[in-house]
């Protein structure tokens, strides 16, 4: 009957891993509502920080095309800043980027409004940009 413990032990092990992931991502969530980076352009429009890397497969196959579709579908001059974490590790550290791709939506004041860990569709990003104050034609 010791076998009855098997599911319990498995769930405890997975729960521990989930807790670690939650703590890691929770730390990044604290950035929402704060201004982290100050070297952005003065476009006075919401913008996107796109964290990527040379070896990030999903970045190249999905996230980048989604950003291209987003940019082509918005009338305003959307600023998308692509950040290679190998080139700008300090910026990735400041934004607590733990996995790629990560897209961060900033409002006109450079304040973080949304953080997407993993792939974010163009529809999701568009909705988040509108929420951050981007003027988008209906």
């Amino acid at each position: 009957m010791i076998l009855l413990l098997a599911p319990l032990i498995a769930f405890v092990a997975i729960g521990g891993v989930a807790l670690v992931l939650r703590v890691q991502r929770g730390g990044q969530r604290e950035l929402v509502g704060s201004v982290v980076e100050t070297s952005r352009t003065n476009s006075r429009l919401p913008s996107i920080l796109y964290f990527t890397g040379e070896n990030c497969t999903i970045c190249h196959t999905a996230q980048r095309p989604a950003l291209r579709a987003l940019a082509s579908g918005i009338d305003s001059n959307l600023e998308i800043r692509e950040v290679d974490i190998a080139v700008e590790p300090e910026l990735a550290r400041r934004y607590r980027v733990m996995s790629l791709p990560t897209t961060i939506v900033l409002d006109a004041d450079g304040q973080v409004t949304e953080i997407n860990v993993g792939f974010a569709s163009s529809d999701t990003l568009r909705r988040q940009l509108v929420g951050a104050g981007m003027p988008v034609a209906a």
Partner: protein, 158 residues
Amino acid sequence: MISIPMAIVPFDRSVLKVNQAILMTGILVGYVAGLAYHPIAYVIPLLAVMMLAAVASPSLNMPRLLYLRVLKPSGIVKPRVVQEDPAPHRFAQLVGAIFLTAASVFVVTGVLLVAWVLAWIVAALAFLNFAWNICVGCIMYAQLVRMGVLPLSREPAR
């Protein structure tokens, strides 16, 4: 502005869902039955072989064949084609296969508690992916690629 054109790969998630459903069902039923009759634990090596074969070749992927030849044509499971890279999912399958292979070793050596713990971990991870699309193996893949342990993959979907 982004300017580098890259191909997006069509990928049918229903194949994964069928695979996960078979895993969860096999492990759950095998575990419950195995409480009464321990040799039923040999369902674990069977599932391990199924997973290893699926990773090795699409033509040996039994859940995929079941989906393509029975479930999809009959309309029982609808296609869920998305645009994404299949490599992380294949890596996740490999992780599941490794866990089940390790569990199989413990089945053969009679250490059933460890075998079922490993099998339940696989079942729970399969459930996370099945129910909420949380792919822990894919997260591991992303981290390993980021660290340079795994190479960039451009393999086609299958």
